[in-house]
């Protein structure tokens, strides 16, 4: 006879986990929306719809129970991460392309939920930034105040994309300025320009980062993530940026700038912590987080892309299985032998 012990089960489910991740993103989203306008909400809706549709089609094709998997919430998390990492005024089809690619290729072609070796949202980001580098680096100019209708028109392609509307992220702006300036600018003077950089890392962007931090801490409090990945990520990013900043503050920005700009906080708490494509052992998580932080910095500062979090996470995804294998914790009663 079938013995289904344990008979008692904790009241948890995959969809509850995913929903809580979404909830944790809300403070960051709120800050983001108040910074760049309601466009981001439109992008979130577009991405969500695209993800659910792609998910449904793929489930159908693969003969999986639709209701069960469509409600697991994993596609929505992917969609939201895509919407939050893509430029908010990106044309709708860019977001849809990214989302569909993430769901169809990065997730389902690898076996669906739980089987993807790479973080689907980051795969989408990487693919799009390689395929559409210009569109992927056009961010709303600082201080741009457009109403919902105007933003919608841009996203849906009904209004022309005016170059003056868009600019670069602070990270990108700094990188470009340093490159073009050929030494005539230094970071300190650049950062003094509060129009772009605000107090720490871009006008308003600090608040977005703080929102993600808040949500991330809540996830940790809810035990949905452990402290290992975010802490290691933040620590390694701070250490390397701190070391170089101390070495030459004129050439390298401060750790605070790096932590609060771009995708650092989102990456540390929501992307690098993705359990499916990340490491699972405690030591593995530390290595994963630290590696991602370090690579993100290197790519950001020395690489060709404005932000390095996506590529850093993908590179660490690649090494996660090996890291896990090499960091198996000793089991109960076997500690002295390990």
């Amino acid at each position: 006879m079938f013995a289904p012990a344990p008979f008692l089960l904790k009241d948890v489910s995959v969809s509850q986990v995913m929903i809580q991740v979404c909830v944790a993103l809300i403070p960051g989203i709120a800050a983001y929306a108040s910074l760049v306008g309601p466009a981001i909400l439109v992008q979130l809706v577009i991405a969500t719809l695209a993800a659910l549709l792609a998910e449904a089609i793929m489930l159908k094709v693969r003969g999986k129970p639709l209701a069960l998997f469509l409600t697991d919430g994993s596609a929505i998390v992917t969609a939201w991460l895509i919407a939050l990492t893509f430029p908010p005024l990106a044309p709708w089809w860019l977001v849809v392309t990214g989302t569909v690619f993430a769901v169809v290729v990065a997730k389902h072609l690898y076996g669906g939920l739980g089987q993807n070796p790479f973080n689907p949202a980051m795969v989408a980001f990487a693919v799009c930034i390689v395929a559409f580098p210009a569109l992927m680096s056009q961010w709303p100019s600082v201080g741009l105040q457009l109403g919902l209708i105007d933003q919608m028109n841009i996203i849906l392609g009904w209004a022309p994309r005016v170059d003056t509307l868009t600019g670069a992220t602070p990270l990108d702006a700094m990188k470009t300025a340093l490159k073009l300036g050929e030494g005539s600018f230094d970071v300190t003077t650049l950062l003094a320009n509060q129009d772009i950089y605000g107090n720490f890392a871009g006008r308003g962007w600090e608040w977005v980062a703080a929102g993600y931090l808040l949500g991330g801490l809540w996830l940790w409090h809810r035990k949905l993530i452990t402290w290992h990945v975010p802490l290691a990520f933040v620590a390694s990013l701070s250490l390397i940026s701190g070391a170089l900043w101390l070495y030459n503050p004129g050439q390298f920005a401060s750790p605070l700038f790096h932590l609060l700009s771009g995708g650092a906080m989102l990456g540390a708490f929501f992307i690098a912590t993705d359990p499916v494509s990340g490491c699972t052992t405690p030591r593995g998580k530390l290595i994963f987080g630290a590696g991602a932080g370090l690579l993100a910095y290197i790519i950001r500062v020395f690489g060709g892309y404005p932000d390095g979090v996506a590529f850093a996470v993908l590179l660490m995804n690649l090494s996660a299985p090996l890291i896990d294998l090499l960091t198996q914790p000793p089991i109960f009663g076997m500690k002295d032998k390990a």
Binding site: M1, F2, A3, P4, A5, P6, F7, L8, L9, K10, V12, S13, V14, Q16, V17, P65, L68, F69, D72, S74, G112, L113, G114, Q115, L224, T226, P275, V276, G278, T280, T281, Q328, P329, P330, I331, F332, G333, M334, K335
Partner: protein, 582 residues
Amino acid sequence: MLMNLFKFKGGVKPPTNKTQSVTLPIAQAPLPSRLVVPLHQSIGGMPQPTVQAGDKVLKGQLIGEADGWISAAVHAPTSGTVLEVAMHVQPHPSGLDALCVVIEPDGKDEWIAHAPLDYAAMPPEAVREHLQQSGVVGLGGAVFPTHGKLTASKTVPMEELVINGAECEPFITCDDLLMRERAEEVVRGIGVFRDLLQPKKVLIGIEDNKPEAAAAMRLAVQTLGETFEVVQVPTLYPAGGAKQLIRVLTGKEVPASKRSTDLGVQCFNVATAYTAWRAIAHGEPVVSRLVTLSGNVHAPRNYEVLIGTPMGELLKLAQPHPDTDGIIMGGPMMGFLVPDANVPVVKATNCLIAHSERLFPPKAPEMPCIRCGSCAQACPHELQPFEMYWFSRAKNFGKTQEYNIFDCIECGCCSFVCPSRIPLVQYFRFAKSEIWAREREKNASDQAKARFEFKQLREEREKADKAEKLAKAAAAQAAKKAAEAAAAAAATTETNGLSADAPPAASEPAPASTVDAAKAAKMATIEAAMARAKAQREAVQPKNTENLTPEQQKAAADIEARRIAAHLTEPEPVAPASEKPE
């Protein structure tokens, strides 16, 4: 008393559901209409029945004799008549049958003569022997024969004796009530264990959700003037796992591959101590135990129940609700649905939970693992359940062993927390049983192979011996002939009047005789080879020729003879080098 407690990693906090069954004192369950007493109620050898159908038995009478050192005797739970000694379905997830003694009670519940034992005056071996004969086994559920754990290791000093009163599974309260109501006898039983093992310390661990039990035990310890420490441990499943409790109380971690005595610790359940004391102070063998009746019932309570009582009949005492659709034996974390409501209560039965869908809703559909790691965080043995799951699913059992699947105690914590609702423990049970089955198969085929090889070897040797004998005989024959020929030659020479300085007599005919001998040897080896071929044919005869009637055998022999006559069976030309003809 302040004590430094240690933590074990992992563990979960399922709702305890214990308050329902502790409101009333322990009650005596009435005599059932029939008792089905399985003979194999403890780990180890299968006790042999000492009674047969029709025998009258008294309460406490031996009905099954311990088989070997790791085995414990089984006794009649009440007086009555043995109806049969037969196979009956067991309270085991496998639902398999086992040999049982079925007794019809006569209602008198008449004891055999039994008397207290002056154990202080007895050598330890005699005490252990007595416990074995009284059927004292671990009543926490593992039913390991208790006497087998009462010898201290010769090399490692016995540091701590740990007494398990943690009872961490939800719903179960029989140990709680036992400690509340019969603490003194429990403590006296612990005293016996202490005397046999001579530990430096005795620690009684009780989860802190049982303050009454802890207080009663403390009082009893005090009253009896013992130095045992009653320690309240945090309520966390599975704090009542022997290894977890040992960890919490002593900080020692006992790996799966080791016995706790190797680390100077031994652990017994409180109920075991109680029955040990009854066996010594009253000469009562284990014929009953406390059972919690709970779950989907109207009147949850603890009962003193005779071993062998049919579970369905017993559960009626607690008035199960009409939607009850099964009985769980044990707790909801590690228990199992019994295969039949009539299976008997055995020594391992600590709790019966009436199962209903309302109480235990059907599980949500299984989703893929999202590697969230919750299972690894919950695992008290610090395993990586999702890795073991992955490889169990892939039937890559070697890998599951690399991830230490045999250290899994099947506590169910991982299944409990998994958001994907994967029945992880089941995968591990499956993997373990597959690995065992393969081992068994391998052992069996190894043995068969060894047997076959040995047989072949023996036949080879026999053949070789035979050939050697034949060759020797032939050589002797040839030598004799040669000698005769030589003699004849000598005679001829003599008659021919050859000179005395003629070559030595044997010199000339000698070559001829060696040739003769060689020929004979060759013949002999050929004969030997034929014999060998015949033996080989016999050896490879198909199995279905084993049990032939004389007629069939004769017919077969005739056919064989005809085939030989027709040269259909030439001897094989192959022969070991040593005896190869030139």
